[in-house]
Subunit: 346 residues, 2 copies
């Protein structure tokens, strides 16, 4: 918000815009604003020209989608962007110029030193330092960082090794549709040609479909996760390695986490710390063999965490293993952005 | 084989029995014997009483299933057991007494110090030390150990951290059917009550359905994998930690592997070592984003290995990350057992 808007903000209920309103995250942003009773004077739904005129329900009313243009951002106080990196680069500065604060779900500004990268449970203090744009982190970074942060507060984390089980939703609504359709085709014995993702998705697992850096061997998703965890934690030399993999799940990510701490922390202590942490729910029933699962995380706000145990392969006893599940569209994207917006208007 | 059978073995073509012939691994054992032109005088198909009389095709002929009894094992030279731990404990000693060598796919004898635990590409020398029973390792242990062994020969592996993506087939043919049926129900909007596995399987991921040790927090599958890797490698103090997870895939397991070596090994060197290793195929095309996948591993003999890169979270440069995929029913079970049998008759 410009200083001008800043002065008026507390006097008026904000005008909120969603850029990319028709996408999977856009729809979830509307659901989060509605469910959380976000105070707003007007909700403006913005998208590309081909969605103009489409009607979407919000609080029982039809809202017509408008084209995302510089003009459509005039008068907006909070702009929630989820229209892809190119649209964010093009229109987020215009929104800021028009007096809005942008919460951007794309990767466009995440590693910009002038842009806070915020998970509210971790570093909402960074919000004070924004210059108009606040970046919403990568979904895996959010789902991993939310339960790791309270542990990090108790015993400093020195190293994180993670392997992900990522849902289709991270690649958008079309990828979710492709997973369903290709699975249906498989079960009916029909051929299916993938269009959205580069590999067959029905009953298959594949390495994340982002460019692989030939120098490091890490793909872009992994590099984002590693860099963003460091920035969110405010620990530039935090040692992180990620292996990002897609699994045939619709909308919740799981992550297997192995962490090395500066000193031992017993599983019971970790469980205790996590049970008091915001945004996290401990699901760790060894007797019933009940642990975090995508079916339980889907549509929920909390990141589920379980399988908490001392990693027996570290003779110092300073390592823990955990398994987490979090809704990619909610905490991994829309919910986190709305939580940021809530703090902006407090 | 008793010493008596031993002397006659080279003079005659062996009588082979499959105990548990009607299960998913049993069917695959028949396929491997047929495809590999395993020399045999007779194939005896043994199973529980309820399968007696069932006819199965082998080399174009119908073979009738007989009941697995002490008597049914008389005259058998090589008995391939895949009827579960209880049946192995009950009947494998009887088979040995009757003069057979048993290759046992269950976990019943794997950690018995008198029983070799063999992956032929790794420790076929152990076959000389058998006392009638040879154990076929756990599927994850085989799929992980086969590509790790050639690396271990080049640079000693000090630590293995793995997260698995395990297919339905490890829980048998009924679990594969449950995955298909529950997915079909999900897509058609019908309710489905899991019967074989404890959790919903359609578009879901869950921690492996074996008992969790309340002391260590590791489940039985993980404990098996960790113990068996040590025994197969002949390194009792090898540090291993496994997180075993089921994903909605039908018959090939994937594993994300992070390994710490005694000294650095470049990804190029690792690729070179693996490209010459038996039982392994390097699938590591960074430009095309083409890496090991269950759809490519299914029905294939080789364990696919890729995503070979230096783990950036280890500042010593001594750690590598890899991602592997192997057919759970073939190299993870039936093929490995038949490869053992092939070495026995050489």
């Amino acid at each position: 918000m410009s200083s001008n808007a800043e002065t008026t903000r507390n006097k008026k209920i904000p005008v909120v815009a969603i850029a990319g309103a028709t996408g999977a995250v856009g729809v979830e942003l509307m659901a989060c604003l509605e469910q959380r009773k976000f105070p707003l004077a007007e909700l403006r739904l913005l998208a590309s020209a081909r969605s103009v005129g489409k009607k979407m329900k919000f609080r029982g009313n039809d809202v017509s989608v408008q084209e995302l243009t510089d003009k459509s951002l005039e008068g907006v106080d909070i702009a929630l962007f989820s229209a892809g990196g190119a649209q964010s680069k093009r229109f987020a500065p215009a929104a800021v110029k028009a007096g809005a604060v942008v919460v951007d779900n794309s990767s466009a500004f995440r590693m910009d030193p002038n842009t806070p990268l915020v998970v509210p449970e971790i570093n909402s203090g960074e919000l004070a330092n924004h210059h108009g744009i606040i970046a919403n982190p990568n979904c895996v970074a959010i789902v991993a960082a939310t339960p790791l942060w309270p542990i990090h507060q108790k015993r400093r984390i020195k190293r994180i090794v993670m392997a992900t089980y990522q849902a289709a939703s991270g690649a958008g609504a079309a990828a979710m549709e492709e997973l369903s359709e290709s699975t249906r085709a498989y079960l009916e014995g029909r051929p299916f040609q993938p269009k959205v993702l580069p590999h067959p998705y029905a009953f298959n697992v594949f390495s994340h479909n982002t460019r692989v850096d030939p120098e490091t061997g890490y793909n872009e998703e992994e590099t984002k996760v590693m860099q963003e965890c460091r920035k969110i934690f405010g620990v530039p030399d935090l040692r992180v390695s990620a292996t990002c993999v897609r699994v045939p799940v619709l909308r919740a990510h799981c992550i297997s986490l192995n962490i090395e701490l500066e000193a031992p922390l017993s599983p019971a202590e970790a469980r205790e710390v996590l049970s008091r942490a915001p945004g996290v729910r401990v699901v760790d029933d060894m007797e019933k063999n009940y642990f975090p699962m995508p079916v339980d995380a889907s549509g929920k706000d909390d990141v589920l965490v379980g399988r908490i145990r001392t990693d027996v392969s570290d003779p110092t006893g300073c390592s823990l293993s955990l398994f987490v599940a979090g809704d990619q569209l909610r905490k991994g994207a829309a919910l986190n952005a709305v939580q940021i917006a809530e703090r902006l208007i407090r």
